[in-house]
Each structure stands twice: as structure tokens, then as C-alpha cells.
């Protein structure tokens, strides 16, 4: 039954044929420095000690694994929520930024840049920069600045400079382009904290490792709850895919566990206003990585669309491209409307207002089938305070 899939990257940073480092020479020294140092640096006991202590005392880990009783009754199965929304700053993003700020310090960097979509990664980066006293610049699409105003205010409060990305669709993809350009212009003193499992090797692997704490905790928490350390399915939303990578990580080679990656269908997969990369994407290169990507026949990147700024991205991390391509993970697409309905349902069934991104994962539960004894873990990647404007509009039109 168990089929071995090599879910580890090779020495050039490929998962199967996805990954690599397709970067201009200007980025080579910084990326190469990271590539040669990140494994030994993060394996160092001192690093681990500092990382674990910050996750515990500052982030508030372990995050609870909560049995969602009423939701379980509704679906006729057993649903557990991995409560990343209860982390400091309200999402899983801080697991990665804590790790990367420790890396940046060890590399002697004085200036931090980041891209952000929903603003959660921007807030998490601004937070760790304040924590260690480093200068922070966050690139954010002009469209996202407007639709995620509370997070922009939080970043400013934390001392970060938020720079609008004005090119292209003025969303996450363009913010990432601007951050990469900043890094090219500032090769000596700057570290780029990428917020997802995207970008050139070693970022996808490094970010997945920092996020893997999610499934590491899940294992012993499930053991406590149900007497076995694995669920039957794990459901997580995927933009770039960092919360999914963390939630899947320790189960990648455990075929007893269904891995469900939930993408944003926007107005619908076939409408031309979507971000469902696994359906609409073909193999290509974006932000330094060979992966699945929404593009024209001529290789021009197509502007994605989703109501959720965090899922509004035309690619997915190379790990997820590999998992979906090799059929290890299945992809489900959820529309804006269905995500909004799922957010409302989650709020009123469990008293938890999820982020719009996470609401896509909840909605996917409607598209799945279960047995009464199944155990399903939903990665509750973030809380929905930042999305209240969208939720209010939705409530007003019901």
C-alpha cells in the first residue's frame, strides 16, 4: 500500500522536475550563500534552541489542535482544527519569519525586505524585525493595500515601511517582483524574507522546514486526542502553499493520509477570473522556480484573480506542483462565494472567524466525502479580523 515518493529536494533544489533556482546573476551570491548555509545553520543546536524558545514564549506554540464538535456533527465525521490563527500576529506566517530573522542575523544582514499579499506575512515580518531591531520594508500590491487596510496599519505601527507595488495587476505577484528588484539593488546588507514555499532554491525547502512545526505538533496532538499520530486527511488552502507545506510535511511519505490542497477558484475556474493554478497552470518559471503557473501559450504570466489576497497568485510552490503532478495530493478549487459562505458557517458553528484564505479550506469540506470514523484536520491558517470589510459587505447583501 505504501508507495515511496521522494518528497525531498535534490541537491539543485528540485522536487522531481519542479523547483531549481532560475535567477539572474545579480541574485546569485545571496541565494548561493543561503543555499550553502541554511541546512547547517538551522541544524545548529543554538539556532534550534533560540527558534524553539521564540515559538513557545513569543508566538505561543504549540497551537492547539481543537476538536470541532458541531462542525463534525454537520459533516458526519471527526474534524480537528489546527489553530494557527491563535499564533501571535494571527496566522501561521510567523513560524517562518521567526526562523528567517534568525538566519538573517547569523548572516549579518541589517535590512529586511518582504512581499505580502493579504498582509499577514508583512505583519509577521514587521513583527520579527521589531523584535530584533532590524529595518523592515514590505512590498505590497496597490490593490492589496486597499483591500487589507488593517494589516497595512499594523505594519506601520510596527515600524515597517510599506511600499506599494504599482506594476502589473498590483497584487502579490507584483509585490514579489518589486522585492526581488530591491534585493538586486541591495545585495550586501539585505535579507529577503520570502513568505511562502516559492522562489528560488533554497527558499521553498527552507520555508517548508520552518512551517513543518505545524505537522510536528499535529502528530503528538493527534496521539493524545485519538490514540494514533496520523489523520485520514489534511485540508489546507494553497496560494504559494506555506501553511499546506507545514501541515503536510511530516505526512508527505505517509500514504495513509490524504493531502488536500485547496485553491482559489475566484469567480469560477472557467471564468477567466481565477487563481486555481493546478487546473489552469502549465509548467513554467515564476519567481525563480520551475513550477505550475498560469500563463499564455507565449509564456506571459496571466494575472490571477481571487477575493482572497493571500491566494491571488498565479503559481504554486514547487513542492505542491510535485505533489499534485504525482497525484500524492489532490487539489480542490473553491469560489469566492463559497469561501464567504464557509467563513460565515465556521463563525456561527464554531465561534471562529477564519481568514478568507482559510475559509477556502473550510469550504472544501463540502466537496469531500467521509466515513463517520474518519479524522480530518483542517489547517486553520489565520484569523479573519483583516477581512471584516469583505465579510460585512457579504453579510449586507444576504
Amino acid at each position: 500500500m505504501t508507495k515511496f515518493i521522494n518528497t525531498q529536494i535534490d541537491e539543485r533544489g528540485y522536487y522531481g522536475r519542479f523547483g531549481g533556482a532560475y535567477i539572474p546573476e545579480m541574485l546569485h551570491p545571496n541565494v548561493e550563500e543561503l543555499r550553502t548555509k541554511y541546512i547547517s545553520m538551522t541544524a545548529d543546536p543554538e539556532f534550534k534552541k533560540e527558534f524553539d524558545a521564540l515559538l513557545k514564549d513569543y508566538v505561543g506554540r504549540p497551537s492547539p489542535l481543537y476538536f470541532a464538535k458541531r462542525m463534525s456533527e454537520h459533516y458526519g465525521t471527526n474534524i480537528y482544527l489546527k489553530r494557527e490563527d491563535l499564533n501571535h500576529t494571527g496566522a501561521h506566517k510567523i513560524n517562518n519569519t521567526i526562523g528567517q530573522i534568525l538566519v538573517a542575523q547569523r548572516l549579518g544582514k541589517k535590512r529586511i525586505i518582504a512581499e505580502t499579499g493579504a498582509g499577514q506575512h508583512g505583519v509577521a515580518t514587521a513583527t520579527v524585525c521589531a523584535l530584533v531591531g532590524l529595518k523592515c520594508i514590505v512590498y505590497m500590491g496597490e490593490v492589496d493595500i486597499a483591500r487589507q487596510a488593517p494589516n497595512v496599519a499594523r505594519m506601520r505601527m510596527l515600524g515597517a515601511e510599506v511600499r506599494p507595488a504599482l506594476s502589473g495587476s498590483r497584487t502579490l505577484k507584483d509585490a514579489t517582483n518589486e522585492a526581488i528588484r530591491d534585493w538586486i539593488n541591495n545585495p550586501e546588507d539585505t535579507h529577503y524574507i520570502i513568505g511562502s514555499v516559492v522562489g528560488p532554491h533554497p527558499y521553498p525547502d527552507m520555508v517548508a522546514r520552518f512551517q513543518s512545526v505545524i505537522s510536528e505538533e499535529m502528530k503528538w496532538q493527534l496521539q493524545e486526542h485519538i490514540g494514533r499520530d496520523y489523520p485520514d486527511a489534511i485540508v489546507a488552502c494553497v496560494g504559494g502553499g506555506s501553511n499546506a507545506a507545514g501541515a503536510f510535511y511530516h505526512y508527505l511519505n505517509d500514504e495513509r493520509v490524504r493531502l488536500v490542497a485547496v485553491e482559489a477558484a475566484g469567480l469560477g475556474v472557467e471564468t477567466g477570473e481565477s487563481a486555481a493554478t493546478s487546473v489552469l497552470g502549465t509548467e513554467g518559471i515564476i519567481h525563480g522556480s520551475r513550477t505550475l503557473l498560469m500563463q499564455t501559450d507565449d509564456g506571459q504570466v496571466i494575472e490571477p484573480y481571487s477575493i482572497s489576497a493571500g491566494l491571488d497568485y498565479p503559481g504554486i510552490g514547487p513542492l505542491h506542483a510535485f505533489l499534485i503532478d504525482s497525484k500524492r495530493a489532490e487539489a480542490i478549487a473553491v469560489t469566492d462565494e463559497d469561501a464567504l459562505a464557509a467563513a460565515l458557517f465556521t463563525a456561527r458553528t464554531e465561534g471562529i472567524i477564519p481568514a478568507l484564505e482559510t475559509a477556502h479550506a473550510f469550504s472544501a469540506l463540502d466537496q469531500m466525502e467521509y466515513g463517520p470514523d474518519d479524522v480530518v484536520v483542517v489547517c486553520l491558517s489565520g484569523r479573519g479580523d483583516k477581512d471584516l470589510a469583505a465579510f460585512t459587505t457579504y453579510l449586507d447583501q444576504l
Binding site: 532560475y22 546573476e25 545579480m26 538586486i184 509564456g299
Partner: protein, 260 residues
């Protein structure tokens, strides 16, 4: 013989390479610009293939690329335009684009089409050295396309030697830690870097690019290499011009005219 090889054999100093974005300002400007650049004295021409996400380029080239895509530029259109331009001039042509475009078109099909359109070389800044050796080098050679790699102030001497051994075209010496489109005087630090590269005795010609914008910076760069590349400054000179041919000639003359 490849036109770049002929050029570098006949001229080793003060080579002027001008970059423009194909399909900008108008979709059909490509032929006019190539003819005008060649007639005005550009030694080689770098044809930018417009891309939606040009990672290494600054605002000027990104905006001209967006405009070119809006104008309807595609690879097939571009190859057609280059074939037409080739009727009038033997100036060496180098395509500059991003590897995703080559990958989607198909590396063999892309190189074949480029060769048949009269292209002499390629610059693909995000194609890694290893993937180039494994997947691309043989195809480029099959179609007689010389491939140019970039080096920067942060590139180690060891890596420069490696890149030098792999480059079949000229070496693109990126003048500073920067994206394209910066202007201003060349600093002493940059001059020291140019001198360091010159001392490495690379087998290929070296052209300095990024931040070269006018006669003064062109002259300075030529003092340290076989020539220089001007891109964003030319794109800016074309902006809003109806007479593309006239603007092109005037720009090249302004660069080649010795300072008073």
C-alpha cells in the same frame, strides 16, 4: 559565419550595443528601430523580448514591455519582424528575454525560429549555468546562436572563469549592483571592478551594461571593456516620439559624438 564573430574580429574597441524593447512604442516599430540603429552606427543590437515579469529589469523596461504586450507583441510576430529587418541590414542581433518564454515556445523551436529570423545570439538572464549546460547549450549551438552570460560586481573570480568558459557570446559585465535603468556617473569603485575584470583575460569580448546612458558614460565604459550597452536611456528617448526613426538616429548620434 555568425555575425557576432565577424564583428568582434573586425572591431575590438568602442562597440556600441543598443537595447530596445520589441513592439515599443508601436507594435511595428521593430524594423524601423533596427534599421535606424544600424544606419546611425550601432555595432550590434539587443532586441528585448517583452515579458510580463522581467525580474532583472527596472521600471523603464518593464513599462515598455507592458506597452509592447498591450500592442499585441508575440514571439511569432517578433520573428516575422526580424526576418523583414534582416532584408536591409547585416547588423548582429541578440535576443534578450526570460527563459520561461523559451521554455513555452519549446527550446528547439525557439532557437530554430531565431536562427531563421537572422538572430546571432541570446541573453537569458535567468537561465542557470547548470540547466544551460544540461538542456540548452547543444540546442543553441545547433542553430549557431551565441549565448551571453552576465557577471556582476559580486560574482567571484572563480565563477567568472567558469562563466567565461561557458559563454559562447560576449560577456555582459553588469556595471553595478542594480536593476536596469539607473543613470549617473560611473564611480571609482565601478572603475576598479571593470579593471579587475579586464585583468582576468577572458577569451570573449566584454561589454559593460546597466547604467550606461549617454556619451560620457559610454566613453568611460569603453575605456575598460570592448564596448558598452545602452538600454533604458534609449527607451526613454523613444517615449512619446512619433518619428521613431529620427529619434533613434538622434539618440545614437548623441552617444557617439565626442564630448566638446
Amino acid at each position: 559565419m555568425n555575425r557576432l564573430t565577424t564583428l568582434f574580429k573586425n572591431k575590438t574597441n568602442d562597440l556600441l550595443n543598443v537595447y530596445f524593447t520589441a513592439g515599443y512604442p508601436q507594435l511595428d516599430s521593430t524594423e524601423t528601430i533596427i534599421r535606424s540603429l544600424a544606419e546611425a552606427g550601432a555595432d550590434l543590437i539587443e532586441v528585448g523580448v517583452p515579458y510580463s515579469d522581467p525580474m532583472a529589469d527596472g521600471e523603464t523596461i518593464q513599462n515598455s514591455s507592458m506597452q509592447a504586450l498591450k500592442n499585441g507583441m508575440t514571439l511569432d510576430t517578433l520573428f516575422g519582424q526580424l526576418r523583414s529587418a534582416r532584408i536591409y541590414t547585416e547588423v548582429p542581433l541578440v535576443l534578450m528575454g526570460y527563459f520561461n518564454q523559451v521554455m513555452q515556445y519549446g527550446p528547439d523551436r525557439f532557437c530554430k525560429a531565431a536562427h531563421e529570423a537572422g538572430v546571432d545570439g541570446l541573453i537569458l538572464p535567468d537561465l542557470p549555468v547548470y540547466e544551460y549546460e544540461q538542456e540548452f547549450k547543444a540546442i543553441a549551438e545547433k542553430y549557431d546562436l551565441q549565448v551571453t552570460f552576465l557577471i556582476t560586481p559580486q560574482t567571484s573570480d572563480e565563477r567568472i572563469q567558469k562563466i567565461g568558459a561557458l559563454s559562447t557570446g560576449f560577456i555582459y559585465v553588469v556595471s553595478s549592483s542594480s536593476i536596469t535603468g539607473k543613470s549617473g556617473d560611473i564611480t571609482d569603485e565601478q572603475k576598479a571592478y571593470f579593471a579587475r575584470i579586464a585583468e582576468l583575460d577572458l577569451p570573449q569580448p566584454r561589454l559593460i551594461g546597466f547604467g550606461i546612458s549617454d556619451a560620457k558614460s559610454f566613453r568611460t565604459a569603453c575605456g575598460y571593456a570592448n564596448g558598452a550597452i545602452i538600454g533604458s536611456a534609449f527607451i526613454r528617448a523613444l517615449a512619446g516620439k512619433d518619428d521613431v526613426s529620427g529619434a533613434t538616429s538622434a539618440f545614437v548620434q548623441s552617444v557617439l559624438t565626442p564630448e566638446a
